[in-house]
Symmetry: C2
Subunit: 395 residues, 2 copies
């Protein structure tokens, strides 16, 4: 007898991970060049050379005992300072290093923040479809109830649906822009509208509604739009960040939680974040990568390949007659399924060795997600398969 | 309004951490050489030079995209293999890499395993006093009830008390040897007696009772006793390990969970462990350190200083008339408080700039814990202060 919820999530794996594991096996059978694996958001561009040089410099020059020692639970002061300086300079974000907590990536940032915020079994967490499917898992871990808000025709939150779904039980809203899976980037007017609505609703219900902005793709904003940093628009906001995509470090687990100093009960909230991390056994984020942060805070990976891939893929697929949402950021493309059931479509694509994630787990039916963080070669070679897939529906 | 439990644990900090933070401030006022900080178990001996050289070699030679990529959620196959080979060779442990899950240290190993095991709010977790105080936090996170078993006169579990406290509700028992805070090492006869009792009780109640062996100090066994590896004695056992102390890497968060393949429902349990990690947002343990494991699995730090410190401290304190438990392992010494209330005694010691942790949070009254993972110089210099502290009670 074991915990049923944990068994379920451990046994099934996510739809994306399952596809990814299938791809690894399939490549061994038919050769890696014949499997068009667009399943997972694993950066295909390496961390900057200078990043790795920084790691080596730190290993060589840091006091050897200090190098791998425990850090403060909330993270090294210098790393928190570097994060805050960078964001305040770029966005006039108004952050304070006393309210920054360094985490093992954005996943930990989300589970910790959600746990810190959850006060009762009846509390609700709103997500904007389409959304990263692990949100469902993290919300369940915190003991919150998930409420899904539908998208409008531009894959932005439908504000009419949102207003209907905010109730007295709403504790928190999670947004991410650039969006996984669509690549849509929220403009300033969206954030302002959201802030206005939440302020109105907070007044109406007499309690805080937290807004978590999950920003692993922040540096992959290719829209030309100014990034509207959420702390400037809404007081009860929390930014969750990861260096996984910006520096291509998904395996190292380094990111942060930045609580808006203007939050109503900022000290309590920050203490609860610290306590939630302690309860779950996080102790501190990996020390070596914390030591690196002050030196690498302004670096990003080279994103050129993603831009080349985006153009090639968009042009190729639209020419074949696919209906595609042109992504403004991240490295995902949302493509309309050629039949109603996106699981069936994803499965049919698999017959052509195209691995694309069905959209239902993202909270929207009838699409697939293409993760184009792959080699440009793969995009080019996949076109014949996409053509054959399309034709298979026209027979 | 935030989560009260999380706020409590974030706001108060552990007694040990609070003392440690005080020490840092005090050192700035009176000079670091005048504060005898024995509060925290932060290794004072560095990671082996060869360990750091391995990291650099990996950074330089690994495929740059693969280097920092996501790993499997359960960890790199090669790292899991290295762990299993090492343990099977040294202990004939009977482990299987399919049931090894690499974690962000032992704290994560414990929170994940406890969550995987917890099935109901009524489930009880037994700990053997004295125990690492964070167990209380991790047990609470899993929604289990803590039950404390008293020690016998040798600071081993009192088996009469244990037998009385195992009930139908007992789901899991946590042990750690070498023990934090006493340094006591369990001999084979203790483990065998425990296994016999648990097997009897499992039969009586008709369900599994899991035994978690928390082993961050396993390589710091200076007792001369053979280490009785728990999987050889009891089927429903789980080993939780950390490289924090053996390789002096506490800040990097790398360790593992090894489930005994002979566990009754090993597949379900392992899936639940995987799912519990996913629920809490662990994703994977830091990739760079996973890549290093196959090369460093047989390395340990140089523990010579700990042995020198142990002898100096033991001799010095007993000569001054303190009642001390001679530690067989780890780097802690348990010393009888000179007054009934160990908080008061710890506080009096603080007046002499001696920072030692009171024993009540460890589940036993009337002692303090001395973490002697410090410079030998500090031990020598502290003796005058320990003398003055003793004399302050004799006036």
């Amino acid at each position: 007898m074991v915990n049923e919820k944990a068994k379920k999530y451990g046994g099934q794996g996510s739809a994306i991970r399952t596809l990814f594991e299938y791809g690894k096996k399939r490549k061994k059978i038919v050769g890696p060049e014949n499997v068009f694996d667009f399943s997972i958001g694993n950066p295909s561009t390496p961390a900057p050379k200078e990043f790795n040089e920084t790691l080596i410099k730190i290993i060589n020059e840091c006091d050897p005992v200090l190098l791998h020692s425990y850090t403060s639970a909330i993270g090294e002061a210098k790393a928190r300072e570097a994060i805050v300086d960078n964001l305040n300079k770029r966005y006039d974000a108004g952050l304070d290093r006393h309210y920054v907590y360094i985490t093992c990536g954005a996943a930990a940032g989300l589970t910790i923040t959600l746990k810190a915020i959850a006060t009762s079994e009846d509390d609700e967490a709103i997500v904007f479809a389409p959304f990263f499917p692990e949100y469902t898992v993290f919300i369940e871990n915190a003991g919150l109830k998930e409420v899904i808000v539908n998208p409008d025709e531009n894959m932005l939150p439908d504000f009419v649906d949102l207003e209907n779904k905010i109730t007295e039980k709403t504790r928190v809203i999670i947004m991410d822009s650039p969006n996984n899976p669509t690549g849509v980037v929220y403009g300033e007017e969206v954030i302002q509208k959201l802030a206005d609505l939440l302020n109105k609703k907070q007044k109406e219900y007499g309690h805080e509604i937290f807004l978590i902005s999950d920003e692993p793709y922040r540096e992959l904003n290719f829209s030309g739009k100014k990034y509207p940093f959420v702390t400037r628009y809404y007081d009860n906001s929390v930014v969750v960040y990861s260096f996984s995509k910006s520096l291509s470090l998904p395996g190292e687990r380094i990111g942060y939680i930045a609580v808006n100093p203007k939050s109503e009960h900022v000290v309590d909230l920050f203490n609860a974040i610290n306590g939630a991390g302690r309860l779950m056994g996080f102790v501190n984020a990996p020390a070596l990568f914390q030591h690196a942060l002050p030196y690498v805070i302004d670096m990003v990976s080279n994103f050129d390949d993603y831009l080349v891939n985006r153009e090639l893929l968009y042009k190729g697929l639209t020419e074949l007659g696919y209906e595609v949402i042109y992504p403004e950021g991240a490295f995902y493309m949302f493509v309309k399924s050629l039949e109603e059931d996106d699981f069936k479509f994803s499965s049919r694509a698999k017959d052509f060795d195209i691995l694309v994630a069905p959209s239902t787990p993202f909270g929207v039916k009838g699409y697939v997600r293409i993760a184009y963080c792959c080699s440009t070669e793969q995009i080019k070679n996949s076109m014949k398969a996409f053509k054959a897939l399309k034709e298979s529906y026209e027979r």
